[in-house]
């Protein structure tokens, strides 16, 4: 086992990793930017090294400084958290080359699965379901029509160079395709300078379902059930839960099996997440593999009792899985609300000094955060300042507990998304579990 782990991250995930290390008897080294010198994650570690100015590119993403910090502190492993260097194959490779263990998958795993087309190809080869789409760029209206008829309407035309919704056209029937194809090409050209477009099945109200997986160096792979992350705003997850209200025991087994197969096909190691789209008819399609620990990992911990960060560290140290698939039992229900320093209606960032901070407590309530009274929310980093996680015997109890925990949570001096979460919890559709990735858009419009 490692003697000393450097945590190449900040905020709640840095503290989360430090806590796991302490429980494993491993010494910890925090890194920090000049802006984070007073952060709780720095005080919680055994040692700390300043690695640069506030800008993440010059501090938390500064590979030479991060590695030097590991060297001068004598750390034998680095935990990257999420974001920053966590999915940087080059960083993982340099760690490997200088004999510092990167706590995560191999650099090859990261590189391969970071290429979404490649990941899709690997999974398709294994005969697993991926989102239906054209094989590549569409050269003509005829090609587009052929592909669309093969996939089935509705379809969405996307710019290959695209992003942010530009160059996209949803097409519901064959006779609308030609015009949409031309419009998408024209928009793609004017926006990205590249008229290349492709086409995919368009799902009307899909759910974002992801499966937590763990793989050891001996090729054993297990899954820890799914998470439903359908409550999103502009692809940013806001509220996650497990089990998904849309997944029953049979579907869980099936989607879990596919996730395990996908991971095995990629020769993946360590902890990871396989993301799927689930349509209204309960068909699911592989989207991608996240090669890091995820923000929402705590809800899986709450229902399985498995400490995912400790497992990540153990697996990175070469230890085998301590659980077999049949040992994984999901008890009760768990939800996570991401508390962001944002205006709860306009979503504008709200950095500043927290004048009063009082987290909720009691049975079934967990808070992961480095906030405290007097802490400063810096405009330099992500706006997520706390994760509020609840657990209950069933979804009903879990929701009631979340509602009372949100009411208890006091954060003053800045605006947060707590009122938004209260509103979501009060929504009848949400209460019934009738949600999809389009839920929040409609919810906010109403």
């Amino acid at each position: 086992m490692f003697k000393k782990v450097l945590i190449a991250n900040r905020g709640e995930i840095a503290l989360r990793v430090i806590r796991a290390c302490k429980e494993l008897g491993i010494k910890t080294v925090a890194i920090h930017s000049e802006a984070d010198a007073a952060s709780l994650h720095v005080r919680a570690a055994d040692e700390k090294v300043c690695v640069g100015p506030a800008e993440a590119a010059l501090s938390y993403r500064n590979i030479p400084n991060v590695l030097s910090a590991a060297e001068i502190s004598g750390a034998d492993a680095i935990h990257p958290g999420y974001g920053f260097l966590s999915e940087n194959a080059h960083f993982a490779e340099v760690c490997e080359s200088i004999g510092i263990k990167f706590i995560g998958p191999s650099s090859e795993n990261i590189a391969m699965l970071g290429d979404k087309a490649k990941a899709r190809e690997i999974v398709m080869k294994r005969g697993l379901p991926v989102t239906p789409g054209s094989p590549g760029e569409l050269r003509s209206e005829e090609e587009a029509l052929q592909a669309a008829q093969k996939i089935g309407f509705p379809v969405i035309i996307k710019a290959t160079a695209g992003g942010g919704g530009r160059g996209m056209r949803v097409v519901n029937k064959a006779e609308d395709l030609a015009r949409a194809f031309q419009a998408a090409q024209a928009e793609a050209k004017s926006t990205f300078g590249n008229e290349s477009v492709y086409l995919e099945r368009y799902f009307l109200e899909p759910r974002h379902i992801e499966v937590q997986v763990m793989a050891d160096n001996r090729g054993h792979v297990i899954h820890l059930g799914e998470r439903d992350c359908s409550i999103q705003r502009r692809h940013q997850k806001l509220l996650e839960e497990t089990p998904s209200p849309a997944v029953d025991e049979k579907l869980r087994k099936e989607i879990g099996r596919v996730a395990v197969e996908a991971v095995k096909a990629a020769h993946y190691r360590n902890v990871g997440t396989v993301e799927f789209l689930l349509d209204k008819d309960r068909n699911f399609f592989f989207m991608e593999v996240n090669t890091r620990i995820q923000v929402e990992h705590p809800i899986t911990e709450m229902v399985t009792g498995v400490d995912l960060i400790k497992e990540q560290i153990r697996l990175a140290a070469g230890l085998p899985l301590t659980l077999r698939q049949q040992d994984v039992v999901m008890n009760g229900h768990s939800m996570e609300c991401r508390i962001n320093a944002e205006d709860p209606e306009k979503f504008t960032p709200s950095p500043g000094t927290i004048t009063k901070y009082s987290p909720p407590g009691g049975f079934g309530v967990r808070v992961d955060s480095v906030m405290e009274s007097g802490a400063v929310v810096s405009p330099h980093y992500d706006s997520m300042i706390a994760k509020l996680i609840t657990h209950g015997r069933d979804r009903q109890e879990c929701m009631a507990r979340m509602r009372r925990a949100l009411d208890e949570f006091v954060i003053e001096g800045i605006k947060t998304t707590i009122p938004l979460h209260r509103r979501i919890l009060d929504d009848p559709d949400f209460q019934k579990g009738h949600v999809s990735t389009t839920f929040l858009e409609r919810f906010l419009a109403s």
């Binding site: 000049e34 010198a37 007073a38 005080r43 090294v49 690695v51 001068i72 510092i100 007097g374």
Partner: protein
């Protein structure tokens, strides 16, 4: 060859001692003066200071005198703690427990800080003479020291003409980003 050992020839110095919490520069003998508990207490004092918007907070106890300053008009906690850091850093070079140079002492001085994380060396090799000594007059662009990181020797140059008033880091010890290395009096002329 051990991959992790920098490829520095004839290196005989011990492996750099790890930075103790909250006292980036408090190394060597200073370790025996400031225990982990004490550094935590000092961190608490810093917290106290920033919560109370104080300008100065002084504590004397068991021969150790700690002095934390807070400039009027400071905006954020972060900045105030950064302000405090050099004062504690300097205690690393003064193991006899006196406080670091006060603001009055550093007024008008130029502080050369480390632009990277690494190991501080005052000379190009263990056998060679140091680049500079206390009291030396230096020119802008003159090499003052080396900070080694990722097997690379990074020469740190003076940003100004002037006289070395104080060397604030110890050779062979690790330095953080932004850690003060030299205090130079730019007004001093030879």
């Amino acid at each position: 060859m051990n991959k992790r050992k920098p490829a520095r020839p004839k290196k005989k110095q011990p492996r750099p001692i790890v930075l103790p919490q909250a006292f980036p520069g408090a190394q060597g003998h200073a370790d025996t003066i400031l225990t982990g508990t004490q550094t935590k207490q000092i961190q608490d004092l810093i917290d106290l200071l920033r919560r109370n918007n104080l300008t100065e907070l002084e504590l004397e106890r068991q021969g150790v005198r700690i002095r934390v300053r807070h400039e009027v008009g400071m905006k954020t906690v972060t900045t105030s703690v950064q302000e405090a850091a050099p004062a504690s850093t300097q205690s690393g070079n003064q193991p006899t427990a006196s406080s670091g140079p006060s603001a009055e002492e550093t007024a008008g001085m130029v502080t050369i800080t480390s632009p990277i994380v690494g190991t501080f060396y005052r000379s190009p090799s263990p056998d060679a003479d140091p680049y500079v000594e206390d009291g030396d007059y230096v020119k802008k662009g003159q090499v003052l020291c080396i900070v080694e990181a990722m097997k690379l020797m990074n020469e740190i140059e003076s940003e100004t003409d002037g006289r070395i008033v104080k060397i604030l880091a110890e050779s062979t010890k690790s330095v953080e980003y932004g850690q003060a290395l030299f205090l130079i009096d730019p007004k001093a002329t030879q």
